[in-house]
């Protein structure tokens, strides 16, 4: 798959621009999850109370998060959360985070253009759409607001639905086709190329085998030249790999994170920020993109 098929790649290549920050090619970015929901799959309700949610923001910023990702609707099926409710859950909180952290990159986890627009007006820098462009107007909102956008592959599923015997001739080819098409649309709509990411969206419209395959072949996504976001934290494919419940998936998550980082992913959406930051910094140091923190042993 050739990067030239998508066109409009950022110049110089490798620069990822989000909000007021430019992330150089070697910098691995941590996106901290702060869910404004009572029923997300991991530690449900942890940050449902706004004060608890703000505490969590302070915590993840101190732990090294570059981006805070704020979402109001769980990915799994459940009680309907309409646009008004989703806005209620996320937008005032985004405004509060922006007021507390003028330079922090804020992303909003939504597929809906109405929510995206309000979120950007409140200070969001990035539209994290995990449902593969289900709402075609979301890209326009990114362009109008000068925000970034995540172009993801959700296996052609409507939002909040689970895969049911999904099959692919080649899941990676399908991921590339969908995400590159969305990236092209975003460029054409006027989104700044340096603000575009692609995301294979592990487990979205994919079974565990498919999620493992996109991990194994992450290099093909990175090879397109677009910065790759991965969201693997505590997901079911990790659980099925090891046969462990949701609260025991940290090691599997970090192993997958390290593999994705080694194969070229740039942004890592995580619950456990401190551990993820440590893994990514270690990878950067091993690769030579970053010097180790402090070296004395054997040299004194």
């Amino acid at each position: 798959m050739s990067a030239s098929l998508s066109g409009g790649l950022p110049d110089p290549p490798g620069v990822l621009r989000l909000g007021r920050r430019d992330f150089p090619a070697g910098h691995l970015v941590v996106m901290a999850i702060v869910n404004r929901t009572p029923d997300s799959f991991y530690r449900p309700g942890l940050t449902w109370d706004p004060a608890a949610a703000m505490e969590r923001v302070h915590e993840v910023v101190a732990e090294g998060a570059d981006i805070v990702d704020i979402g109001g609707v769980p990915a799994r099926p459940g009680d309907e959360v309409d646009v008004a409710e989703e806005i209620r859950r996320t937008v005032p909180f985004i405004a509060a985070v922006r007021a507390a952290y003028p330079e922090l990159v804020i992303s909003v986890d939504t597929w809906r253009h109405g929510v995206g627009r309000e979120a950007c007006m409140a200070g969001a820098d990035l539209l994290n759409d995990t449902w593969g462009g289900w709402d075609p107007r979301l890209i326009e909102v990114a362009a109008e607001a000068g925000a970034g956008i995540v172009c993801s592959h959700a296996g052609h599923l409507p939002p909040r639905t689970r895969p049911f015997r999904v099959s692919y001739d080649d899941v990676v080819s399908d991921v590339l086709e969908v995400t590159l098409a969305l990236a092209s649309r975003a460029v054409a709509a006027g989104v700044e190329p340096a603000r575009i990411l692609i995301d294979p969206a592990h487990d979205f419209g994919k079974n565990t085998w498919h999620s493992l395959e996109i991990t194994r072949r992450l290099g093909e996504l990175a090879g397109t030249g677009w910065p790759v976001l991965v969201s693997v934290s505590n997901k079911d494919f990790v659980g099925e790999t090891l046969d462990v419940p949701v609260d025991d998936r940290l090691a599997g998550t970090l192993a997958t994170t390290a593999v994705c980082a080694w194969l070229g992913a740039r942004v890592f959406r995580a619950h456990q920020v401190r551990e993820t930051r440590h893994v990514l910094s270690t990878i950067s140091v091993i690769r030579g993109d970053l010097p180790p923190a402090r070296v004395v042993r054997g040299l004194a």
Binding site: R165, S167, D169
Partner: protein, 228 residues
Amino acid sequence: MLTGAVLCPATPLLHPEVTGRDAVVPILRAACARAVTRLLSSEPDIVVVAGPAALTGEWDPAGRLDPSVFVPGIRRTGDRSLPPALGLGAFLLDQAGYTGRRRLQAVGLDEPASACIQLGMRLRETEAKAALLLMGDGSARRTLKAPGYLDNRATAFDAEVERAVRDSDLGALQRLDRRLAHDLLATGWPAWQVLSGALQDLAPAADVLYSDAPFGVGYLVAYLKTRL
């Protein structure tokens, strides 16, 4: 003439390469194997595998499932375009050691009941001894964790299917509402209509070998023997 029919779920979990190190559904797999063994005990000249697909049509009888469409990274074998329901039926026959003639009949999900029933009736109009292996599932909306989430109508719907099969009540199968089956993600609906057409007036005796929904999808395994 038709010697008998078997209903099996069309879940990829039947295939050993799909479930990883754990067999996951060993009891279901064993029930399917027993049902198919009983079906083959009448020594049919031909086995017709029928199951849901996008479109109605016959497939190459030598067709085999390629599990790599669900499990990327394993060796590509078989026909990647073969509807999985038919591929799984072919797999069950292979597992049972069947080497005789077979026919792979896809039944389109949009086929009206009358077409499915007529297809079933035509399947038995053969001079050869034929056996029917029907692939299809109950509702995929049985629980909160089901692939299709929960629909409160799903359990009762599947219970009625099971009762109709157990009682060989072919009329009841034909009265199952197609729209409701579609809403409930019950992919077995075409198979049940084909079954009702195929066994009409043959007074079958039914045996239900398995009925459960361990993952929120209704799996039913049954063997129906015709009494002539």
